[in-house]
Amino acid sequence: MQNPSNPKASQMRDLGASTDFYDLLVDKKNISQYHNLALSGGSGANSNYRVSMYYNEANPIAIQNWRRQYGGRLSVFQKSLNNLLSTSVNLATNFNKANLLGGQAGDFENALGRNPTQPLFDNTGRYYEEGSTVNPIGRLAQEKLIRDQQTTSADVRFSLEPFKGFKASAFGAIQHDVRNDNEYRPRDSRRSILESLNGTPIAGTGYARKYNYVDNLSTFESTLEYETKFAEHHGFKALAGYSYQYRVSSWFEGINSGFLNDQFQENNLGAGNFIALGKSSLGSFKEDNKLVAFFGRLNYDYKGKYIAQFILRREGSSRFGANNKFGNFPAASVGWNLAQENFIKSIQVFDDLKLRAGYGITGNQGIPNYRSLVRLGTGNFYLNDDGVWRQTYGPGNNPNPNLRWERKAELNIGLDFALFKGRLSGTFDVYRRRTSDLLGDFNTQLPPYIQSTLFTNVGTIDNNGIELSLSGSVIKKKDFSWNVDLVGSTQKNRLVSLSSDVFKATYLNFGSIGGTGALGDAIRTIEGGSLGSFYGKRFAGFTPEGRWLFYKASGEAVTSDKIVANEDYTYIGNGIPKFLVSWNNNLRYKNFDLTVFFRGKLGYDILNLQQAFFGNKVYLPTNVLKDALGRNNQINDALQYSDYYLEPGGFVKLDNVTLGYNWKFNSPVIKNLRLYATGRNLLTITKYRGVDPDIEDTGLAPGIDGRGFYPRTQSYTLGLNVQF
């Protein structure tokens, strides 16, 4: 097989076997199931209940990766006090056991990179290992990582309607989430032999870890609502309320090694001698936050023709600086129901025609806790003058007492319409969103600050777009009908500014490429530029020896060492789709029904990192793609990030096809029975040459297809619904 003229031949050693490591990671019998049973009853509208229970077994495509959960929900509703008070209570719980050992993208990357002539086992019957790497199949067979999780929630709502038009409600809820992770790596497992715990080699003495996480969320909300009409046509509805939310999370973790045998696994952490060596690990953590709001809403309508709404929310979050905890967020909207106007009625075309306009401001507090405070944290151990090693303490952040709410102002104008007796209906929306006081960890002055970034409010992002949805009934006959839904949207993003009065940045980088070769960040957003833009070198060809050539800013093609970072870099693509479209068809023939759903994203680029790494011969002796010796065979140079690896990402997918059959029974035992079959992700039409063009396309680092090679799946479901 070896070609003597191939200079890389020494790196392509034939070890004699033929192993498909990737295939060994795939769970061939990955059938999932879901069973649900619901009962309901009661004495009509004044008192009723519903109980449901379910069991679900999910088996994703990877081995050593599954989830089994069961749970139930109980809902009770009752009216009392002469029907003035209604009470509803919900109780729900979920028991969830999951195997988290497998299913990581890194496993598939590792498997794909292994020499395929390598055997799975060596001649002593152990998993074949080389150097300091870990055989992924061996790791999954040797180790254990199981999560036991239980989530419980309870809520109660009282609604009192002492007289018509007036309603007072109080709502309280708690959610309790507990996770218990159990991890063990036996003594003869590869990682137990290879790795260290707190700087001391485990040396084949086992590794056990327990991790407990508890999260509690308490919510309370009370509202007063009053509805009345003046002078027959003037309808008013007013609401005032208060809400409170408190979340507290904590975890505890213990890790030990140095076990005599594998008997205890993670169930007797104290037995390992790394405690005596001072090399076991103990950790714990706790944080909490509060969010409160006072709010009011006023609705007005005149004859159902003119509609107006005003909202004012005053929200407070513990996460902001002492003087900026509260923010005011108003909103107003107006509507004109044109279908009620005589001049529209007279055309006799529209069943519904409504023009809407709204403007509102909302706040965002989705940031980590405690970012406004000076926090002294541990800084590692140092030797004290009494000979004892103790933790040092210093500030881990720059405090920001001015931290405040991020605000999003949105102007929206829309039209709802229905024509031809409901055969065609749709909505059309145009929006402008401006997010200001953007929250983030931004570059700051160092000195005088201690750290190079400050969690602060800097900058403005604009997001403008159009959305159109149409629903039509194409055929509507007794035995046959065909309904179509079309949805399309487009939007434009722009980073308007990245500066505040004190802090200034000219760009932000996102999308760290990682892996061998330190290829840096893929995406850069500058003031005035679009979000999600790829920024880097422009490919100009190869030298006869196969070295990369890139364009300098001057237009000259040079080898990569002559390229100056930034000066010669430029915008080379964008990862956010310009258009999103979908097309859904519902067909019904007698008792059959058929759904066919297409979905597409158009007008964006994908950075194909699988080609950038596995498509370059220099990646040997890690196994490479055929493309390394095919379409990229010319490359005889280092790993590089450039527009050479950008590909058009547009696609249309046949996302869902469901065929069902319904039986109607007149039997008192069974009311209804439905059998259906669903196929998902059946067909993709695209120019993209990677695994799947449907990748992350929102956020700040869109359009990057990583090295992970997690398999994309098609799924088929068979379902039966019975109603008694």
């Binding site: 001391t200 509060k290 590692n380 002055q445 201690i450 930034n566």
Partner: protein
């Protein structure tokens, strides 16, 4: 009747609402971090803040895998390089640009040392600022201890500024956290004066070096800094200060700044200054201390230096990124009889420490073949003969072996301290100052100082002492290179001898651009602070 019923409803609802109105307190509580206003209640708490800059210095003064002062200055010099080795080590040409002195003011190799060192300054400033509000007597700390703590922080801060001045020259001087905003660039000579003032005001309030102050800034460390400051005064301030350098060296040599035996002495061999029990070294004047047994931390040089299978060579647990190697001409600068060449480098076929007959295997070009480190940086596996920054392979170059972790079974495995100043440097500094004062000619005392050290590196039969004729300034630079290789001092020496931008070595051609003696002020800070001024020869914005 109906009215009173309504009234009752309103009253009870109001009660519910007003009860909840109390829930508007949004003060935050810290659970696993500390609120500074509740800290510094006793000596241990105060000391924990004094020691914070030391653990941070691990990131920038030692080769622990970050772009600190150590890595960036070594990789732009004539001894160490991080060449591309097949698919590894190209790293977007950042190491090639360091070697070729073509760094850009936007890149991380320029930004990270600035950021790391000024964060260290921040830790010093923060502790000093907090201490001004602490009642030391109430915390049970004596006036002597208080002054020593404050002096220690001021001297350490001056050390940061000295290294910042070494790299970037003209920088802002800030002594309080957060104030002033947008601090202005100060010229290098002013930074020099600030460092000198801070050191001189504080060094004599520091304790003498003794056992319990290992790893701390004592008088020995303070005077070592003064010696370095004055040795480089001509470059840094424009005015030579040879006599001040000699005076600072004499303080240390004469034992006035303490030592583990009262007075520091040269270690007898080439190993005990660097091995895993080097906390016993009588030669080291200031080190970062590590104890891999008592703490989870060790001096993690493996990331920068070690091969992917290097753990087997030492019977240890640390592999690395197969990064930094010795430039062939720097290896050749050692005479074959120089024992430092044997002790401080790893070269040749490699075997398991735990099984000396079993070869350690390669993982890349020499996958499944014995790993055999060679001096040259060539693609021998492809019959390549060129030796350059892009023609390395996995076994290219002699490797770092000055500090060795020892075997896993050893009691102090990988507990090596990282030396920042040792007595040899003081000897060499004084010798050089004497020579410079003497028109570049070695004096008798200079010869004695250098020969005393150099004798250690040769078998008695092989040792040829320097003479006035052989110890030229060029030879002094070469000898400093051999003695301090891997110790993070080479760029500063090359600049002081005028060679950094004018000399050629291996794959480096000189820029002959004196502006390259300074790194640029990083773009990130120019963008954030309008009062910063770029160094000459670099883009202003």
């Amino acid at each position: 009747m109906k009215r009173s019923y309504k009234g009752l409803v309103f009253a009870s609802l109001l009660a519910i609402l007003s009860g909840t109105n109390a829930c508007t307190n949004l003060d935050e509580t810290l659970y696993n971090e500390i609120d500074a206003s509740k800290f510094y209640n006793n000596r241990q708490e105060i000391l924990s803040a004094v020691l914070r800059p030391y653990t941070h210095a691990n990131a920038w003064t030692a080769p622990t895998g970050q772009n600190g002062h150590w890595r960036i200055t070594e990789l732009s010099g004539d001894q160490l390089a991080w060449p591309q080795k097949g698919r590894h080590g190209y790293d977007d040409a950042q190491w090639i640009r360091l070697h070729g002195h073509s760094w850009s003011y936007t890149e991380n190799t320029v930004w990270n040392p600035y950021s790391l060192m000024f964060t260290g300054v921040g830790f010093c400033n923060n502790a000093l600022g907090d201490f001004s509000r602490v009642d030391f007597a109430k915390a049970g700390v004596s006036e002597t201890d208080k002054n020593a703590f404050i002096s220690e922080l001021r001297v350490f801060r001056a050390y940061h500024y000295m290294k910042l001045m070494d790299m970037y020259g003209n920088i802002p001087i800030v002594t309080t956290v957060g104030s002033p905003t947008s601090p202005e660039t100060r010229p290098r000579a002013e930074v020099f004066a600030f460092v000198e003032k801070e050191l001189k005001e504080s060094v004599d309030l520091l304790p003498n070096l003794e056992q319990k102050y290992i790893g701390r800034i004592t008088k020995a460390a303070g005077y070592s800094m003064l010696a370095e400051l004055y040795l480089n005064a001509e470059v840094w301030s424009g005015t030579p200060r040879w006599d001040d350098c000699i005076a600072a060296c004499d303080k240390i040599i004469n034992g006035q700044t303490g030592g583990l035996n009262g007075t520091p002495v040269l270690d007898a061999d080439l190993v005990s200054t660097y091995n895993n029990t080097n906390n016993n070294s009588k030669e080291i004047l200031f080190q970062l201390v590590y104890d891999a047994q008592a703490t989870p931390t060790r001096c993690g040089w493996n990331g920068d230096f070690y091969h992917f299978n290097q753990r087997f060579i030492y019977d240890g647990d640390g592999n690395g990124n197969n990064g930094i190697v010795v430039i062939p001409s720097a290896y050749d600068a050692f005479n074959d009889k120089d024992l430092r060449k044997k002790e401080w480098f790893l070269i040749g076929p490699q075997f398991y420490a735990a099984d000396p007959t079993r070869p350690v295997l390669g993982t890349e070009e020499y996958k499944d073949q014995q790993l055999n480190f060679v001096k040259e940086i060539r693609r021998a596996s492809e019959n390549g003969t060129a030796s350059s920054m892009i023609t390395g392979e996995e076994n290219s170059g002699a490797r770092f072996n000055k500090y060795r972790p020892g075997r896993q079974s050893e009691a102090k495995y990988w507990s090596n301290d990282w030396s920042l100043y040792r007595l040899t440097e003081i000897y060499y500094n004084k010798a050089e100052a004497l020579m410079r004062k003497n028109g570049g000619q070695a004096t008798g005392e200079a010869l004695t100082l250098v020969n005393t050290v150099r004798k250690r590196a040769f078998a008695a039969a092989d040792f040829v002492p320097y003479t006035t004729a052989s110890l030229t300034l060029d030879e002094m630079l070469a000898e400093r290179g051999r003695e301090f290789i891997f110790e993070g001092k080479r760029r500063t020496d090359l600049i002081r001898f005028g060679k950094f931008t004018t000399a050629s070595w291996w794959d480096h051609t000189p820029s002959n651009d004196p502006n390259k003696n300074l790194y640029p002020i990083p773009q990130r800070q120019l963008a954030a602070n309008p009062n910063l001024k770029q160094n000459p020869g670099y883009p202003a914005q």
